[in-house]
């Protein structure tokens, strides 16, 4: 990575950040794209994406790799960095990185850090996170072949992953705070599976077990407040997403953890733009993320050009 100043630094290399990188480079901006893990963001955990047009039905990771290759071919620089802060020095912004204390200067920053799976925060969760409790059925489902598993959540991800898991495990129990809220066809399919039991309107109380996860205790939110314990070998949590913009807190651009933007993807701080799942918006999809990325890069480039006049 070159050490001199960039026109635009993009933080986060999911579909939104990758799209922004292509638009920024094509606007003749010296562009650096950063991600703490690998390109792709949330889509790498999605087995099939069927609503992003032009590529048919595609594996999420494969789409991520194709997007990254297009970004590289366009000329965007990429590096592995965990960003801990963005400093505002007027026309210059400084992106501060964790790994080697690197301070990267630029004129404009586009924040595209997206979200990560939300956690319950109940007793026992930390003890079994990654060893009994998982957030990726495609990654960890195979180890529960013929065993009993609990899925927590009732939205699209929870129901889709439950259908996948029910084909592998012995008994699948779905516990959700409300009723199943996913696509009705998917909910019907799940309910019809012979090894699936659904407990709607429940609060999770704790995860049980000493050396290994042995069960989940939960309580009905109905008037009877019945408590139940389901024994299981594994748990998969799908209870929504939380924004990853803590490093922007000092900039004063957050709204309940997400970043508030105008239709040009500008934040309240000149020179700082945001796009994709991290912004306050209605629909978080690959298609909308890419659209946001294009708008953010277009306006970030216009901002950088305005500084040169």
């Amino acid at each position: 990575m070159e050490s001199n100043k960039y026109d635009i630094v993009i933080v986060g290399a999911g579909p939104s950040g990758l799209t922004a990188s292509v638009y920024a480079v094509r606007a003749n901006m010296k562009t650096l794209l950063l991600d703490k893990l690998a390109p792709g963001g949330q889509i790498i955990n999605t087995n099939e994406i069927a609503n992003y047009l032009g590529v048919g039905t595609i594996n999420g990771a494969q789409l991520a790799i194709q997007m990254f290759e297009q970004s590289q071919a366009a000329g965007a620089e990429f590096d592995y960095k965990t960003v801990t802060a963005i400093e505002d020095h007027g026309d210059t912004k400084v992106v501060v990185c964790e790994e080697d204390g690197a301070r990267i200067e630029c004129n404009a920053v586009i924040v595209a850090t997206g979200t990560r799976p939300r956690r319950l925060g109940v007793p026992g969760e930390d003890n079994f996170a990654g060893s009994g409790i998982s957030w990726c059925a495609i990654c960890d489902g195979a180890q529960y072949e013929g065993k009993d598993v609990v899925v927590i959540g009732g939205g699209n991800s929870a129901v889709e992953e439950s259908i996948y898991l029910a084909g592998i495990v012995n008994k699948l129990t779905v516990v959700t705070m409300f009723d199943l809220t996913a696509d009705p066809l998917a909910c019907d399919k799940l309910r019809a599976m012979p090894n699936v039991t659904v407990y709607p309107y429940q609060d999770i109380l704790e995860f049980l077990g000493e050396d290994r996860l042995e069960g989940v205790r939960f309580k009905s939110t109905n008037e009877d407040a019945t408590e139940r314990t389901v024994t299981c070998d594994g748990v998969f949590e799908y209870i929504g997403l939380q924004p990853m913009a803590g490093f922007c807190e000092s900039l004063g651009i957050l709204d309940r953890g997400f970043i508030k933007t105008d239709p040009q993807m500008r934040t309240s701080m000149p020179g700082v733009f945001a796009c994709g799942d991290i912004i306050v918006k209605q629909l978080r999809q690959v298609a909308t993320a890419c659209g946001d990325g294009a708008v953010a890069a277009h306006n970030a480039a216009a901002y950088v050009e305005s500084l040169r006049k």
């Binding site: 690998a38 889509i43 087995n47 990771a61 991520a64 990654c139 960890d140 195979a142």
Partner: protein, 103 residues
């Protein structure tokens, strides 16, 4: 150097010195992206041996290695496991583990 191996090929490897073994699945997104990161690791460490084992096609080997999910990285020295990482990990974290087994 990254090499895909099956169980007989793995058992026949000369395990002297440091090496990294990745258990992955063809259907797993984080595995695909970890493979992407490992290619980058390989670029900066061309002489370091990285072996990839398909989880579902080598079940006896993954059981023998105590691997439960994928992706799983086993950092090995002289045939013994020194440390392991589970899930998609950052390139600097992987490089740090490699440096440990190289010394």
């Amino acid at each position: 150097m990254i090499t895909e191996v099956n169980t007989p090929q793995y058992d026949a490897l000369d395990k002297k010195g440091p090496m990294l073994v990745e258990f992955y699945s063809k259907t797993c997104g984080p595995c695909k992206m970890l493979g992407f990161v490992l290619k980058d690791v390989d670029k900066s460490n061309p002489d370091f041996r990285i072996y990839q084992v398909e989880f579902n096609e080598n079940k006896e080997l993954k059981d023998r290695c105590g691997v439960k999910g994928f992706p799983t990285l086993l950092f090995m020295k002289d045939g013994e496991e020194v440390s392991r990482l589970e899930g998609l990990k950052q390139k600097p974290v992987i490089l740090k583990e490699i440096e440990k087994i190289k010394t």
